[in-house]
């Protein structure tokens, strides 16, 4: 799976400046709120009166906050739940209807149908719950004010803060229930959609078992399992738009077993029902349910060690490099040259036996890219090797080096390939260097190779003139799998966090705007939040002083001009006042303004964690925490803004 950012909560708060941004935005909001309140009040009552009015509002906030009682908040919340129950039922009905026809669009085909399922279901849930959140919270307060039913509430001994927070709690509860039901239904839908089994399309007679000669089948294929001695020319029946092949494999103990290949992201367990009485080749088999498609791998990625990066590369002469550019637009993978001294070193920390579900067999997962400069032998994949080393302190000469022998393997591009290393070995792949007395001793992966949890993993490409692409997430230790169901719930927590942010935003807007305006404004803010990453990217590239980083086409104003006049992106703008104005608007007003605003709204794009589920990885705790913190902070801020707006609003004037 592609992981472009590795951030812990502390990194995010301190290094990435989230905390500073929060303080900055809070101060800006507070100051501008006070100023705005003062100006509006000045127009109404004069400056001195305005000062007192603003001060009074601010100071009254303290008792309003402290004096909030759960009983009253819950009462308001219950009202909010009751009045939106119908919308809740309608939304649910729409979702169920959407699920009924979803099968048309998702289909079972492709290489990994579970990815299509997860992407569609998360997208549908996200959209549906977002619309629900905006609809329930946008019209509630304005409608109450318009129909004057708000008097029945404000005339009661209830604080403004309780009205605002109560509604938030009510909408959050009904939204959470909706999301829980939607999540449950979609999980069942997905599991049922993916679940299937197969039968053999015909009996496998002995002549249908193709022998593997020199590593290939008679029809020129490499067997799907390297242990295969026969591969069947008979397939399974086509269910869920795919079929499987079968192979007879020889196990290390010499026994034979029958396995199905991995197609559409899964395999099946195979049980032999009938065998040929003479040759013992299986004739009929029975298949179990799909295996390996709904999983949640727990990876341990490389991490920075002191000043050393988590992943560093050397070029063909062995000096540090950023990797070779093989001409790809996407620079995620960094390439090393084959048949040279060029290496990629991954630095691992915190590797302890306790982290692995099965510490006796340490699994190393590889997901490497390949770039060929010449076609070479078409039938061979590019060969690479890894080497593991314990981290030896240069000053400490007493510490002996323990390392693995170079373990060669054939790369499998766009697949997760697993190399298994036994924990305890005697004269195996792990060796103690320069210590003849330990030659016949048993060495332990954790105690000898990673004594303090640290080790270096070096990757090389063996084939000359070919290149191997690596990224930090390309190589990791696979500690085990967590429950897919639990991972699914964690994925929905991202959507839940987004829902809370939208509800809070809509409530805050509804304290001073009318319903339809709230709807449009909230949708606008959400769209802005979704585009925030893109806006920052555009702003950075257009405002950059580095000409190479500048994007063609300029900012929004220039883009509009080019669009209307059908001018291509490379053509320079005509010199003159118009161009100067366009550039001024883009570079001095729009882009800096939009960029600044983008820090005040959550990046809604980041709340979708479906990729982790789709590719079968456990959602990173830090990422989830960052999402939740972002949503809670934003919601709290919106509540504060909503409270002050509601407090200063003259209900009777509405």
């Amino acid at each position: 799976m592609v992981v472009e950012e590795f951030r812990s909560v502390s990194d995010w708060l301190l290094t990435d400046g989230a905390l500073l941004t929060f303080v900055f935005v809070t101060v800006i909001c507070a100051v501008s709120g006070l100023l705005l309140g003062f100006i509006v009040s000045s127009f109404r009552h004069g400056p001195s009166e305005a000062f007192f009015a603003v001060s009074q509002t601010v100071f009254q906030a303290v008792p309003d906050l402290v004096g909030m009682r759960f009983r009253r908040v819950w009462a308001i919340a219950r009202l909010a739940i009751k009045e939106n129950f119908r919308l809740f039922v309608v939304t649910l009905a729409i979702f169920v209807a959407a699920l009924a026809v979803a099968g048309w669009f998702i289909g079972g085909g492709g290489k990994n149908p579970e990815r299509s399922y997860v992407a569609f279901l998360f997208f549908a849930a996200q959209i549906l719950v977002s619309i629900f959140a905006v609809l329930v919270s946008a019209f509630s307060l304005p409608n109450d004010i318009l129909s004057k039913t708000i008097y029945t509430v404000v005339t009661k001994p209830v604080r403004a803060s309780e009205i605002v927070v109560g509604r938030f709690v009510g909408f959050a509860v009904i939204g959470t229930v909706l999301l829980a039901i939607v999540g449950g239904l979609s999980y069942v839908f997905m599991v049922r959609g993916i679940d299937h089994t197969h039968e053999l399309s015909e009996e496998i007679t002995v002549d249908k078992w193709l022998p593997i000669v020199d590593g290939f089948t008679p029809d020129g294929r490499r067997p799907f399992d390297p242990r295969a001695v026969f591969e069947s020319s008979v397939f399974t029946t086509r269910n869920n738009d795919h079929v499987h092949r079968l192979a007879i494999v020889q196990l290390p103990d010499g026994a034979f077993d029958v396995v199905a290949d991995e197609t559409a992201g899964h395999t099946h367990s195979v049980k032999v029902v009938e065998s040929d009485p003479v040759t013992q080749h299986p004739k009929m088999v029975r298949f179990g349910p799909p295996q390996g498609n709904l999983r949640a791998r727990l990876p341990i990625y490389s991490s920075p060690r002191g000043d050393l990066a988590a992943l560093s590369l050397t070029d063909e002469k062995g000096t540090d490099t950023q990797g070779v550019n093989v001409g790809e637009v996407w620079d995620y993978h960094k390439y090393i040259q084959g048949g040279t001294q060029s290496t990629a070193t991954f630095r691992f920390s915190g590797l302890t036996a306790a982290k692995f579900s099965n510490a006796d067999q340490v699994n190393l997962d590889l997901n490497l890219a390949v770039f060929r400069t010449h076609i070479g032998d078409v039938r061979r994949r590019i060969e690479a090797e890894i080497e593991l080393r314990n981290v030896v302190d240069v000053a400490d000469t007493a510490t002996a080096q323990v390392k693995s022998v170079k373990i060669p393997f054939e790369t499998e591009e766009f697949k997760v390939q697993t190399l298994t290393i036994s924990r305890k070995q005697k004269n195996g792949t792990i060796r103690a260097v320069g210590q003849p007395d330990r030659t016949n001793q048993e060495l332990d992966f954790f105690e000898d190779l990673a004594p303090n949890g640290e080790l270096d993993l070096i990757v090389r490409c063996i084939d000359q003139k070919q290149y191997l692409g690596v990224a930090r997430a390309s190589v990791y230790f696979h500690a085990g799998d967590t429950s897919f169901g639990w991972n699914y719930i964690r994925g929905f927590l991202g959507i839940w966090a987004q829902m809370l942010a939208i509800i809070a935003l809509s409530i805050a807007l509804s304290t001073f705007l009318k319903g339809p305006v709230v709807l449009i404004s909230a949708v606008g803010v959400v769209v802005f939040g979704y585009s925030a990453n893109f806006i920052v990217f555009v702003a950075n590239s257009v405002l950059s002083t580095d000409r190479l980083a500048n994007m063609w086409g300029g900012g929004p104003a220039e883009a509009l001009y080019r669009l209307v006049t059908q001018m291509n992106l490379q053509h320079p703008l005509p010199p003159g006042l118009g161009t100067q104005m366009l550039t001024f608007v883009d570079k001095q007003l729009l882009l800096p303004g939009l960029k600044s605003l983008s820090f005040a709204v959550p990046r809604f794009e980041n709340f979708n964690l479906a990729n982790y589920l789709a590719y079968g990885y456990t959602i990173d705790n830090h990422l989830l925490m960052i999402n939740l913190l972002t949503a809670f902070t934003f919601a709290a801020g919106m509540m504060v803004i909503g409270y002050f707006c509601f407090k200063t609003r003259e209900i009777a004037a509405a």
């Binding site: 492709g110 990815r115 299509s116 079929v243 078409v378 790369t411």
Partner: protein, 604 residues
């Protein structure tokens, strides 16, 4: 009652709106089922509806009505243009980030919104089978994605029942990806036994028995592509769907696949009678009638040219004969004039040109032959020149003949030009030659030579053979050099009746030149010289005579061989003087090439 002006205005608007309903109804009235049995099938709706029926533009006539596609279009509420834009961007972004399964999914959704836009199918089908498949390192993954691209095209068939281009693309991509790409050997090998793919995804459209060829070891990719093109032809001929490409490039495809099939059969397997038949089939499909599907051969197809005239490529010779008959009729109207003008033009030639003209054709060397092209133009007699000297009473008849001639000339030039575009003559002669017995024997010998070279056996060797009585005898077996010798002997026999194949540059000539060089290298490897009686020496000499010494690189000509013999003292003085006369002549005509010869000749 007192009406305000605004009320009047509203009333006028209402009346105008009601009046506008009349033309709208006239234009946009939907089609209705005509219950009158005599008028069944006639469009009865408004103008737009009638136009739609006339041009087969209704959704039902364009494609099967797919509820998924219709739901998508409806659900996007008129914004499906924007949705399409977003999906295209998404597909591009996914591809950039190498999330290919997502590209595939996005594209599947995209075509639901644009099911009848053929370019989308063409672009994305190509994208899947070319661009995405080549991203994968493993040839088996590439094979998977080529099939994904082809499957994508097959999905487009139901949506585009009146557009032959989906089938054309299936033919094109099946042919090229399986038959021409770097991994063609592996792809074709895998496809031969890929019954699952064929049964599940191809058999819905084409009967697998049609391209399951025992002589090709199973399913053959070129025959599969041939049948995809045949589906397209069937659509054009039986359903009368409008053509979307030029006739020439459209009708050439089917026969081309048959030729490729024969070619691959000759390379992948030991050639034999099956190969000869395949070449014969390719020849017949190219020229006269396709024996596989029973359709008109390429040469007999009506081809509408860009000038709007309809031609048949096979008619060229007949048309030329017709032109000559007109010339004869012209001669009858002006007896002796043509010869008179010819003589006048010849007399105006320079002495050197006259010498070249009078020289026997087989004696002309490269330079004379080049000059001869110009001289032929100089002495050419045009029909209007003949007409100008015709007796006055025949001038009107001559004028009529001139007009006929001009029309014919135009057709000849069109046929010539269209033949040139598809290399018609070359492929006609080539397939014909390959389908002869010497042609197949040559292929067989070449195949054996390649195998022997692979095994490292260059010279004749002896093999011990045990008979049924257990007696061991030694049998002489051919080495690669012997096999190549046979190859050149058969090729010489096969090639001689086709002078068109000796001309100019072609892959055949290029291959032969390489084979000669390969043969020379093998001879050197075993310490032997270029043979005196090389079976294709005539071919090498002819190339030198017509195109100069540089054309044969370092191969030996007869002159080189003679020179070698002289050096060895094998020729007597008389022979030497004869030869030196000839070589002087050559020196005179091609001094530059001769100097190259000294440098390049490899004595072996």
């Amino acid at each position: 009652m007192n009406f305000a002006p605004s009320h009047y205005r509203k009333a006028i608007y209402g009346i105008l709106a009601a009046i506008l309903l009349v033309p709208i109804s006239f234009l946009a009235r939907p089609n209705q089922i005509n219950k009158n049995p005599n008028q069944a099938g006639e469009a009865t709706g408004g103008t737009i509806s009638q136009l739609r029926s006339k041009h087969n533009l209704s959704q039902a006539s364009l494609s099967s009505i797919d509820p998924t596609s219709e739901v998508m279009k409806l659900a996007s509420m008129g914004l499906h243009g924007i949705a399409v834009n977003v999906l295209w961007n998404q597909a591009n972004a996914y591809q950039e980030k190498k999330a290919f399964d997502k590209v595939s999914g996005t594209v599947d959704t995209l075509v639901l919104l644009q099911p009848n836009f053929i370019s989308v199918w063409e672009f994305q089908g190509h994208n899947l089978s070319y661009n995405i498949s080549r991203e994968f390192d493993d040839y088996q993954d590439r094979y998977f994605w080529v099939k994904e691209g082809l499957n994508f095209f097959t999905k487009g068939i139901a949506y585009n029942r009146r557009d032959h281009r989906i089938y054309d693309n299936l033919g094109l991509h099946t042919g090229i990806k399986f038959g021409v790409s770097d991994e063609k050997r592996q792809f074709r090998q895998m496809l031969r036994k890929d019954r699952e793919y064929v049964d599940a995804l191809v058999s819905k459209f084409i009967n697998p028995e049609l391209f399951d060829r025992p002589e090709a070891g199973g399913f053959d990719s070129w025959m599969l592509s041939y049948w995809w093109y045949d589906k397209s032809y069937e659509m054009r001929e039986n359903l009368g769907v409008p053509k979307r490409t030029s006739d020439l490039m459209y009708w050439v495809k089917g026969p081309q696949q048959l030729r490729q099939y024969a070619e691959n059969l000759s390379v992948d397997f030991r050639p034999g009678e099956a190969t000869r038949r395949a070449w014969r089939t390719a020849f017949e499909a190219w020229t006269d009638r396709d024996p596989v599907n029973g359709r008109q051969g390429f040469g007999k197809r009506d081809i509408t040219t860009s000038f709007g005239t309809v031609i048949r490529l096979e008619d060229l010779e007949r048309q030329r004969e017709f032109q000559r008959s007109i010339a004869r009729r012209m001669d009858e109207l002006a007896p002796g004039v043509r010869q008179q003008i010819t003589q006048e033009k010849i007399s105006r030639l320079s002495p050197l040109d006259q010498q070249i003209l009078n020289m026997p054709q087989e004696e002309r060397q490269y330079k004379e032959m080049t000059e001869m092209n110009r001289i032929e133009l100089d002495i050419r007699v045009y029909e209007d020149e003949v007409r100008a000297r015709a007796p006055a009473e025949n001038k009107v008849k001559a004028d009529n003949l001139l007009r006929e001639l001009a029309d014919g000339e135009f057709l000849v030039s069109q046929m010539d030009s269209y033949r040139y575009t598809v290399n018609y003559n070359y492929w006609r002669d080539f397939t014909d030659m390959e389908s002869t017995v010497p042609g197949v024997l040559a292929r067989q010998a070449s195949y054996e030579a390649t195998e022997l070279v692979r095994q490292g056996i260059l010279e004749t060797y002896e093999e011990e053979v045990t008979d049924e009585n257990g007696a061991v005898t030694k049998v002489k077996r051919d080495g690669a050099i012997d096999a190549l010798w046979r190859y050149f002997q058969h090729t010489s026999d096969a090639l001689q009746p086709y002078p068109g194949l000796h001309d100019g540059e072609s892959t055949l000539i290029e291959d032969l030149m390489q084979d000669f060089t390969r043969f020379g290298a093998h001879l050197r490897d075993v310490g032997r010289e270029w043979p005196d009686d090389f079976p294709m020496q005539w071919f090498i000499d002819e190339r030198v005579r017509r195109y100069g010494r540089a054309n044969i690189k370092n191969l030996m000509t007869t002159q080189d061989i003679e020179a070698r013999k002289r050096e060895a003292g094998l020729l007597d003085q008389t022979d030497q003087s004869d030869q030196s006369d000839q070589s002087d002549q050559t020196d005179q005509s091609d001094q530059t090439d001769q100097s190259d010869q000294t440098d390049q000749t490899d004595p072996g």
